[in-house]
């Protein structure tokens, strides 16, 4: 029995099917898990990730509600830039265009490139916080000693759940100078 051709073939087919499973599971990580995670985070607004550029649609301003928007800025790791919101808090009505700036200065002796990563608390509000203009859409290069006011414009959607009165928008500034240099 142990040496019959039929027996060998059945072992061979078991093994090849299992190898296929292994290959599929390896591919599954890259092809399914990573994109699915990003899609789910976008769709459900979990992790407080905000979407890309929003095209403003004409909509009524809901003056019955006022939403407090708080701005927080922090530097990742040992990023040396001075970075902070010009306004700590502003109040907007849902549907109204809000506008503010963040201040950034590169005190280092060399030119640097930064990338700001936004995050929203409560995470549920992320899906309703639409940015029409944000410095976080692009990398921000500043020459040594240069400073800049970075613009931010946003609209809070009228459909924002009633129980949310305060939204905190946080930016973490990452140093991506090496990353940009190695990409070029």
């Amino acid at each position: 029995m142990a040496d019959s051709a039929q027996h060998r073939n059945s072992i061979r087919s078991t093994v090849s099917r299992l190898l296929l499973v292994v290959a599929c599971m390896f591919a599954f990580v890259f092809v399914v898990m990573v994109p699915l995670y990003n899609v789910l985070c976008d769709a459900l607004g979990i992790n407080g990730k905000t979407g890309g550029r929003y095209e403003a649609v004409s909509a009524e301003v809901d003056t019955s509600r006022t939403i407090k928007i708080q701005f927080v800025a922090r530097n990742n790791d040992d990023m040396p830039w001075q970075f902070g919101p010009t306004d700590k808090v502003i109040r907007v009505h849902p549907g109204e265009l809000g506008s503010t700036t963040f201040f950034a200065k590169n005190p280092a002796l060399q030119d640097m490139v930064a990338q700001a990563i936004p995050s929203i608390v409560p995470a549920r509000a992320a899906a309703y916080f639409n940015k029409t203009e944000c410095f976080c859409f692009n990398q921000q290069p500043l020459k040594a000693g240069e400073e800049a006011d970075l613009p931010l414009q946003f609209i809070v959607d009228q459909a924002l759940p009633e129980d949310i009165q305060t939204i905190t928008l946080s930016y973490t500034l990452f140093d991506v100078t090496d990353r940009v240099a190695s990409a070029n």
Binding site: A2, V15, V22, F26, F28, C41, G48, I117
Partner: protein, 519 residues
């Protein structure tokens, strides 16, 4: 019979080994060596934690010790030990002459010494060994990792390849090489649990390989899977890791379930209660293990619906696990029980594993977990299931099958002494950790607040006792092989059931060259 030939002589027997018994022996000795090394790391950790403050080692080295202890024990000691057991026993239990793929078997073993040489050599490198915990969360393991992380990644790839080949071999053997009449529902439970474990391994080891590959690409090739600056997300790492990591804990414990399901009936002199339900429970646990991974991540900021789903799914695992514990106890009920060493370890397993299961249920409660998270309560929990679960059942297995393997009986008194020292030492070491954990002592920190001193001293003393018991174990095993009392009864244990007890003792080099007929 002329085709019967003995093993090759000398070192070549082991380097070119294709015999399932030789490879099983290699796996078992390798895993014991790793168990001693990983245990030595644990002793260093407990010595440092004997008192608050920093006495013996630097915090950096402490982090390397916790990391290496976890990695060596999980991937070097527990997993290969059960693969070794599978190699020895599965062909003998299903009436097969050998594993289906003997040469691949050789490769899958011989990858391991290289994988662990690569991993352990990082201890002597500049910047030190990996220091980010055995869960190697990004960005600790990417942006902030020591340079040796690349060696760690390569080591994980090697041991992953080894596990995948080992489990493909086991599945191919069980599916194709059963003796005539050995239907699936007649297979011993150890074979069943290993079959299911092997499927888990085939499904999730590639995910681990994917996780470390993404780390490698983030570190060296400028990708941003886990780097927020480039649009990635460190939380993604935790999802990928635990998608592997949770099935992994069942990979470790399911073969242990199989072992005690063989031993408890033998010493209760009754057939296993609820064989079918044991099989279905094992399969349910394996299925559920894929949908509970995020219960390791309650504090990362999941939506409430996610927390609820993972909480209920996790608690559901208690049902099939409860079926198993119920069946073991019912098997013992009204049996004519004798308490030889394998049975002592098996009962110790059932008792302590159940405690670990209960603390697991506590940890599954999402709102309560916020307090337990990353505390010593977690450490106590998983050592109750990993040590009192996997390692106790492994000790039981060695005492139970060693006489069959080498034809010599171990010293029963020494075995019982080993059990009691291990049992008492284990509980002194880990029970107090529940208390310090609930009181707020964080894990993986070399120093602690003064009020935790007494319990930590107890814990360290218990750990030293438990460590010493393993030296006794090693001595007993070597003494048995060299000078144990000879046994030649094929049965060895009067209550033992299964094909492996029908062949002569000690087990000849080749068994079941003509398949037995199973009624």
């Amino acid at each position: 019979m002329s085709e019967h030939h003995g093993p090759a002589k000398g070192i070549k027997r082991w380097i070119f080994a294709t015999n399932h018994k030789d490879i099983g022996t290699l796996y078992l000795w390798f895993s014991f060596a790793m168990f001693i090394i990983g245990g030595a790391f644990a002793m260093i950790i407990r010595a440092e934690l004997f008192q608050p403050g920093l006495q013996m080692i630097s915090p950096e080295f402490f982090n390397q010790m916790t990391t290496m202890h976890g990695l060596v024990m999980v991937f070097g000691a527990i997993m290969p030990s059960f693969v070794g057991l599978a190699n020895w026993l599965i062909p003998m239990m299903i009436g097969a002459p050998d594993m289906a793929l003997p040469r691949m078997n050789n490769l899958s073993f011989w990858l391991l010494p290289f994988a662990f040489t690569v991993l352990l050599s990082s201890l002597f490198m500049e910047g030190g060994a990996p220091n980010f915990g055995w869960t190697f969360y990004a960005p600790l393991s990417t942006t902030y990792a020591p340079p040796s992380v690349t060696f760690f990644i390569f080591g994980v790839h090697l041991m992953g390849a080894s596990s995948i080949m080992g489990s493909i071999n086991i599945i191919a053997t069980v599916m194709n090489m059963r003796a005539p009449g050995m239907t699936y529902m007649k297979m011993p439970l150890f074979v069943w649990t290993w079959l299911i474990t092997a499927f888990l391994l085939v499904a999730v080891m590639p995910v681990l390989a994917g996780a470390v590959t993404m780390m490698l690409m983030d570190i060296h090739f400028g990708t941003s899977f886990f780097n927020a600056a480039g649009g990635g997300d460190p939380v993604l790492f935790q999802h990928v890791f635990w998608f592997f990591g949770h099935p992994e804990v069942y990979i470790i414990i399911l073969p242990a379930f199989g072992v005690v399901s063989q031993i408890i009936p033998a010493f209760s002199r009754k057939p296993l209660f609820g064989y079918d339900s044991m099989v279905y429970a094992t399969a349910s646990i394996a299925f559920l293990s894929f949908i509970v991974w995020a219960h390791h991540m309650y504090t990362v900021g999941m939506p409430i619906a996610g927390e609820l789903f993972f909480m209920y799914a996790t608690m559901l695992i208690a049902v099939p696990t409860g079926v198993k514990v119920f069946n073991w106890i019912t098997t013992m009920f009204k049996g004519s029980i004798t308490f030889e060493t394998p049975m002592l370890f098996s009962i110790g397993f059932v008792f302590l594993f159940t405690i670990g299961g209960f603390t697991g249920l506590m940890l599954a409660i999402a709102p309560a977990d916020v307090q337990y998270h990353d505390s010593y309560f977690v450490v106590a929990h998983f050592h109750y299931v990993m040590v009192a679960g996997a390692v106790f059942s492994m000790s039981a297995a060695i005492y139970y099958w060693l006489p069959k393997w080498c034809g010599r009986m171990y010293d029963e008194t020494m075995g019982k002494v080993h059990f009691w020292i291990a049992f008492i030492g284990f509980n002194i070491a880990f029970f107090p950790q529940h208390f310090v954990g609930l009181a707020g002592m964080p894990r993986r920190i070399p120093d602690y607040a003064l009020q935790f001193t007494d319990f930590n001293m107890m814990s360290s003393i218990g750990a030293f006792i438990y460590g010493a018991a393993q030296i006794l174990f090693l001595f007993n095993v070597i003494r048995t092989i060299v000078a144990g009392k000879k046994v030649d009864d094929p049965q060895v244990w009067e209550g033992a059931q299964g094909l492996e007890w029908t062949i002569p003792t000690p087990a000849p080099y080749h068994t079941f060259t003509t398949p037995p007929q199973v009624k």
